[in-house]
Structure formats: structure tokens, C-alpha cells
Symmetry: C2
Subunit: 168 residues, 2 copies
DNA sequence: CGTTGTCTTCAGAAATTTGTGAAGTTAAGG
DNA sequence: CCTTAACTTCACAAATTTCTGAAGACAACG
């Protein structure tokens, strides 16, 4: 864990940070996230304070302000970062929360709801007694079950986390 | 639920089926799945027997055999369909199982494992005591917790499903 | 062992997505 | 108010993804 050239005095090994950011982002991309959004999110996750300005992000990731803007808009929409206006400044900071994954999963819940609606319509229009309708109904039942269980699971996680990491 | 022209005698409203297939596929695409894979999967889900041949899929979705081939290869890789050789024929059938989502989630588990590995490396190289390292460690803890809970959740689902739908 | 039906692979065309530079908008600070 | 820093929007270029037609491979059937 020695510091690479260029990171002198920062207390952080910029190269190690970048390596982590790029590998984790790549995996998020593989899972379906937009590339730039994934890179921004990973950079925030690895940052000291959990928050960075547009300029900082642009410099670390070597991209234009426009790219940062687009990525941040997406991440805010899916509740994976929040925006903060620095009081007495025209800069904005983008932040990951410690209960970030709680937020993200909660949002996932809304998506599940839309899926369920589509599945319900499918059951209706194919007929609940047709073989296809039955298969879709079982899928629907699974999602409904999952939705309820995920809520409980997240509650348990928060409790578990507080015990493990202290109120954070 | 009247039959549209062209579906006469099939006992299925082709237009209604297609409408469901395309809406559900669109939502899967939104969630990150490849378009053609999503359409094939939705078509199988809505089919009578839960299985279709390449030719049937090509005709219903109006795409080439090559496109079906690519989609099916992907779906098989992520365990969302299985392939069956029809005995005494050179045709293959592609099938969705009733415990399809169990399979899919189990596969998701493998992805989680890879994420965890990357996060562990991140904690190591940033240092477990650095602020960024701590944040990543908390993310790692969440995924580890999630992994264990998902396993239990899926077991409970199977039990719940058997009670609700009878042994499937 | 040749014929034929079925699936796969591959090169390339088409469509989509992604990121940039430049112009536009907003609000802080003088 | 005027200036200016910071973010956003937009049109376009580049890269990537997706699908097709054609050729190839494989296995069933005669």
C-alpha cells in the first residue's frame, strides 16, 4: 500500500482507488447499469468523505462535466446518490449515504410494483385458467411474496447493521 | 377476450399474447436484459406448454433463426431457460420451468459472490481503517448478509408455493 | 453414406447508446 | 444589475450493440 507518484500528500493511493473504482464499476455495468453512472457511483463509494463535486469527479474519471451531469441525474433518479447544495457556494456535492443500499432496494420495490401490474394484465387477458395464464400467475405470486419479504429483510438488515457498526 | 383474426382455432388470442409479451419484455429490458432475450423469455412464459421451438419463436416474434439462437444461448447461460432435444427429431425445444425464478435468483447469487470479492480487494487496497475502506466494508457486509438471507428466503418461497399451488 | 432439416457462426448493416464541445441557464458575489 | 462560476441541455460524432442473411456444422433418416 505505498503511494504512487502523483498521490503524494493526499494520504490516498490514487492508483489503488482507481483500480477499485474501475473494477467495481465494470461489474455494475455487467449487471445492467450505465457505464458512466457506475463509475461515478464507485468513485463516490471509495471517496474519503462519501461526497464529491462535479469537478472532482470529472478529474478523477477523466470525463467532461456533461458526462458527470448525465450520470448524476440518473443516479439521483434511482436514489443512489443525493445532491447537496453547499451553502454559500454555487457548487453542488453528490453524496452516497451509508444506508445507500437500503434506498436502492426500496426503489427496486417500485419497479417490482410495475412488473406486477403488467403480469396482472397478462393473467387477465390470457385468462386465469389457461396454462399460460397460470404460469404468469405463479410468477406474479412470486413477486408479491418477494416484495413483502424484502421489506422485512431490509428492516432486519438495519438492525443487524446498527449492532455491527454502531449507530451510523 | 374475443379471438383476433388469424388466431382462429388456436384457442388463444394471438394479439393479446403478443401485447403481454411485448410489455413484459420491455420492462425486462428496462431492468437491463438484452432485448431479444427478454422477448423470447416472455413468449415462453406466456406459451401454453411453457416450451417452444426455434421456428415457433421466430414466427411469433418475427425475427431470424440467428436472433433466436443468440437469445437462447444467453438465457441458457443465466439459467432462465433449459434446452430439450425432442427425442427422434432434430428440433430442440426451449423451456421455462415453474421454479424458474428460483433458478434465476440462485444464479444471481454467483454474481453477488464476484461482487463481494471485488469489494474485499477494495477494502484491502484502500485500508480497512480509511473512510473509503470503511464505507466499502459496510457495502460488503450488506451483500454478505443479503446472500445468506436470500437463500433462506428462497427456501421459504418454495414451501409457500407448494402450499398455495400444490406440488408443482 | 448421401440427403435434408435444424441450429450455429460470422461478417457486415442498422440502430442504439454514450460522451463531447459549445451554447444556454441559473444564482452567488460584488 | 453586472459578472462569473457552476451546472445543464443539445446536436453531433464515435463506439457499441443488435439483428440479418449466408455459409457452415451437425445429426436424423432413408
Amino acid at each position: 500500500m505505498t503511494e504512487s507518484a502523483g498521490a503524494a500528500g493526499t494520504g490516498r493511493d490514487a492508483e489503488a482507488v482507481s483500480r477499485f473504482v474501475e473494477s467495481f464499476a465494470a461489474q455494475l455495468v455487467e449487471a445492467g447499469m450505465q457505464r458512466m453512472a457506475a463509475r461515478v457511483f464507485a468513485a463516490l463509494l471509495a471517496s474519503d468523505s462519501g461526497a464529491m463535486t462535479s469537478a472532482e469527479l470529472g478529474e478523477q474519471l477523466q470525463v467532461s462535466p456533461a458526462a458527470v451531469s448525465g450520470a448524476v441525474r440518473y443516479l439521483a433518479q434511482v436514489h443512489m446518490v443525493s445532491r447537496e447544495r453547499e451553502p454559500g457556494s454555487r457548487r453542488e456535492r453528490y453524496r452516497v449515504h451509508s444506508d445507500q443500499w437500503y434506498e436502492a432496494l426500496t426503489n427496486r420495490d417500485a419497479i417490482l410494483k410495475r412488473w406486477e401490474q403488467t403480469l396482472r394484465e397478462g393473467v387477465d387477458s390470457l385468462g386465469a385458467t389457461s396454462p399460460g395464464g397460470q404460469r404468469i400467475a405463479e410468477t406474479l405470486a412470486f413477486f408479491e411474496y418477494l416484495e413483502g419479504e424484502l421489506t422485512k429483510l431490509m428492516d432486519r438488515w438495519r438492525e443487524h447493521r446498527d449492532k455491527t457498526f454502531g449507530r451510523g
